[in-house]
């Protein structure tokens, strides 16, 4: 479905109240947060796989500078890291890291664990682990001696859709597009307060089939 189709579907679900719910509001306040919420609940819907050339001695990378599937800088659409591999595994034919002639997983560690060794940050050599600081600082341990290619697989927020491009299509699979409309409807109802807000929340729960750790009430 295109953005135009999804807007139309949301309108139908809202009883075609075009005055109370203008299209701009449906996109900004409904559809875009809805697709973000859907991917928050189910991160597997929008994984991105990209390569990064890490220069010699580079200790950490700001993951917000990575490109997305379209080659655009991910910026604040970065969400969380899933996997890091030494070498290029973005395509069908994987390519070993030229500098180390390796193709292997880099294991997750943490600053706290690495800090068991006083000099962990200054160590140079084989890259075997990565660490994270917050959600978007990624470091390699040990620091590479030569320029090294790594593949980063990460969960991303879907690209926001814009009203000016009604032919835009959400990043997530088409089978979920109707769910976006349903969640968007629930979110849009919130502004009306009770009882519509309660109905809106029920729509969210039903649409996302939530199994939350804590009940929302």
């Amino acid at each position: 479905m295109t953005l135009g189709d999804i807007i139309q579907l949301v309108h139908l679900k809202l009883g075609e109240q075009h005055t109370f719910y203008p299209q701009s509001e449906i996109v900004v306040q409904g559809i875009n947060p809805a697709q973000r919420l859907l991917c928050l609940a189910y991160p597997t819907l929008n994984y991105v796989r990209t390569t990064v050339d890490v220069t010699a001695d580079q200790a950490f990378i700001d993951l917000r500078t990575l490109p997305d599937a379209s080659g655009n800088i991910i910026g604040n659409r970065f969400r969380s890291i899933r996997r890091v591999v030494l070498g290029n595994v973005t395509d069908d034919v994987s390519v070993i890291s030229a500098s180390t002639e390796e193709l292997r997983e880099i294991h997750h560690s943490s600053v706290k664990r690495l800090a068991g060794r006083n000099n962990w940050l200054s160590l140079h050599g084989e890259v075997r682990k990565y660490w994270l600081w917050g959600q978007y600082w990624l470091g390699l341990h040990k620091r590479p001696i030569d320029t090294t290619t790594i593949t980063v697989v990460y969960a991303a927020t879907p690209t926001p859709l814009v009203l000016e491009v009604p032919t835009g299509v959400p990043d997530i699979p088409a089978v979920y597009h109707a769910i976006i409309a349903e969640v968007a409807t629930g979110l849009l109802l919130m502004k009306e307060g009770d009882p519509q807000a309660t109905r809106g929340l029920a729509r969210l729960h039903a649409a996302l089939n939530f199994a939350l750790q804590r009940p929302l009430e």
Binding site: E25, V28, Q29, P33, R36, L37, L40, A41, P43, T55, A56, D57, Q58, A59, F60, G75, N76, R77, F78, R79, S80, I81, S110, V111, K112, A115, R117, N118, N119, W120, L121, S122, L132, W133, G134, Q135, Y136, W137, R143, A155, T157, P160, L187, M190, K191, G193, D194, A197, G200, L201, L204, L212, Q213, R214, L216, E217
Partner: protein
């Protein structure tokens, strides 16, 4: 990219508020800022802060936006956290020690300051590194702090928000909760409750993502 103006506009849509007076927009911005501070207190904004080490100086200041200090390295080596009382039991006059720093503490110190012990005997260079690897400032004989910060003071009407997009959604809903709950003519308790429920829902998922990150 989201700006503070975009966020205010989204909050106003939820509030069904068409008042564009400066004072009203400022009040909403205050709620958004308050919401951002809550995320900051939950350590959502990691930062790697470089501090220039000075020979003979043991107490250093962090930026005013600092929230929490997790790890401190000197000369690319780990400093161990210690409390002042631990040092008192071990050694008197430890504050006068000079040498290669081994410990750090924020115990009993003024906000946004930390002490490294012993005080260094060398002053690190403050000249940028070319090429800027691993960071633009030299780590040799200097201090690197793994910290978290408060970005609420950096929110600007036209500059993109220094947040992830998920955080922007959360800020809207939490701000609606705060704003609609105020004892003003705009008070709307049902809407405030709806905002709180949405914010809680978002935060549960954000916490799950974050759990794979910090530390």
């Amino acid at each position: 990219m989201t700006t503070l103006a975009d966020e205010i506009s989204r909050v106003q849509i939820m509030l069904q508020d068409i008042d564009t007076s400066v004072s009203n927009l400022a009040n909403i911005a205050t709620s958004i800022s308050e919401a951002a501070q809550k995320l900051a207190r939950l350590n959502y904004f990691p930062q790697l802060t470089w501090v220039n080490a000075i020979s003979g100086t043991s107490v250093y200041n962090m930026p005013a936006t600092n929230v929490d200090i997790e790890h401190v390295l000197y000369n690319e080596r780990v400093l161990r956290y210690i409390t002042e009382s631990s040092f008192d039991r071990k050694l008197s006059g430890w504050e006068l020690l000079k040498g290669e720093p081994k410990y750090w503490t924020s115990d009993n110190l003024a906000k946004n300051t930390f002490r490294i012990i012993p005080a260094p005997t060398r002053t690190g260079s403050a000249l940028p590194v070319i090429p800027p690897v691993p960071i633009i400032m030299p780590l040799t004989d200097n201090i690197l702090v793994f910290a978290t910060e408060d970005i609420s003071t950096n929110l600007d009407a036209v500059v993109p928000m220094p947040t992830l997009l998920d955080y922007d959604d959360w800020l809207v809903y939490y701000s609606v909760y705060l704003h609609a709950g105020k004892e003003t003519t705009q008070q709307n308790q049902p809407l405030s409750k709806a905002g709180a429920l949405l914010a809680e829902m978002w935060l549960q998922f954000m916490e799950r993502d974050k759990a794979g990150g910090t530390n």
